[in-house]
Amino acid sequence: MNIENLIPVTALCTYYKVEMPFFGHLNEMGLIEIQIIEEIQYIHPDALYEIEKMIRMHQELAVNIEGIDVVFNLLQKIDALQNELIAVKNRLRLYES
């Protein structure tokens, strides 16, 4: 991906009023992936939706990084279960119709 399509972490810090170490910790926890190009840290735009969620949890709910990790794992499980529920409901329709 071209560098101009990536978002500098410093820009996110300014926009969301978050300090740099916050992103560093998220990166260490494996919750986001920071790319370093010429000593500048970048985030892929596809990750923005999840990052916004993490920032809201941190700022609005005072959830720490470890807590965010736990919440995201549980949300992923909910998501997987919801998809499974949709598949099971659709399969049930096979026998009901």
Binding site: R56, M57, L61, V63, I78, I86, N90, R91, L94, S97
Partner: protein, 298 residues
């Protein structure tokens, strides 16, 4: 427009301190925050209520006004007139949760007392993300066999949309930035679109696989032959092996439904043979079947 008991919403007494209100608010926000309750309308509603309650009770001046006029909110306007000279400035000081439309989506009661914006007076104006919108799109199974473009009108806005082939019944997609307008220059909300796929075909669908039943005459089942079977995009001729049993299944690889977002890849079609037993036999046919039975038993 009914009176809203903000203390009851936050489950606190009227005598609580500001710190206790903050604590109660945070506790409830953790329970009902939309990020933690995806696609839960009840939680979203509850979250807006506690957000509104916090907007009022966590600010001393507004709490005082609410306590004084709360149940007689109709008099709040007079109260406002009396305080006009104070040039009450309706802008947010932060601290409220607005990320899901909570920043601008208040009850009529709230707006009657405090106006349309945030109840807090302050210097800094917070930006809020616009409200997320949910919509349902009904499509026929045939419509989602191929990728197609649609223009939807949602909340008066025309939204051009590409619906990838193979979308599932009940599947939800997020269209970023197509929700409500942001507040104070905040980003737009998102549109969550849920598909309801109606099936009026003779095929049953399970994810990417299709299932159908094809009748096979008795003689072809016993002696072997050919049958024509419908697939989703045309007809195919199938060879029926001699001695085929009722309920025999055959798999037509790649003749199922398109795999979502995997262009050119398809599931399989499973055909079940249903052997048709002849009825209304002529005398001659009955004789011949009787002869066959005799042969079988001899």
């Amino acid at each position: 427009m009914a009176f809203i008991d903000y203390y009851k919403i936050l489950e606190v007494d009227k005598t609580v301190t500001e710190a206790e209100i903050k604590k109660a608010y945070r506790k409830m926000a953790r329970k009902y925050h939309p990020d933690l309750n995806p696609n839960d309308k009840e939680a979203e509603k509850k979250f807006k209520e506690i957000n509104e309650a916090n907007e009022v009770l966590s600010h001393a001046e507004n709490r005082k006004k609410y306590d004084e006029y709360g149940e007689n909110w109709q008099h709040a306007e007079q109260y406002e007139s009396a305080k006009q000279q104070q040039q009450y400035q309706r802008s947010s000081q932060g601290g409220g949760f607005g990320g899901f439309g909570g920043g601008g989506d208040y009850s009529d009661f709230f707006e009657s007392m405090f106006g349309g914006g945030s109840a807090r007076g302050g210097r800094r104006t917070s930006q809020y993300k616009g409200e997320d919108i949910s919509a349902e799109l009904h499509l026929d199974l045939k419509d989602v066999y191929t990728t197609n473009k649609r223009t939807l009108t949602i909340n008066g806005k025309n939204i051009r949309l590409t619906i990838p082939a193979g979308v599932e019944n009940g599947q939800q997609i997020k269209i970023s930035g197509q929700g409500g307008e942001g507040i104070n220059g905040g980003p737009k909300g998102d549109l969550y679109l849920t598909f309801t796929i109606e099936n009026h075909t003779n095929f049953k669908r399970d994810k990417n696989n299709l299932y159908s039943t094809v009748p096979v005459d008795l003689y072809s089942a016993i002696l072997g032959g050919e049958v024509t079977a419908a697939t989703f995009d045309g007809k195919v001729k199938l060879t029926v092996k001699p001695g085929t049993q009722n309920g025999t299944k055959v798999k037509l690889k790649g003749k199922g439904f398109p795999i979502y977002k995997k262009e050119g890849e398809f599931g399989d079609l499973y055909i079940t043979y249903q052997i048709e037993i002849p009825t209304n036999l002529s005398e001659k046919e009955k004789e011949l079947f009787a002869e066959l039975a005799k042969l079988k038993n001899s």
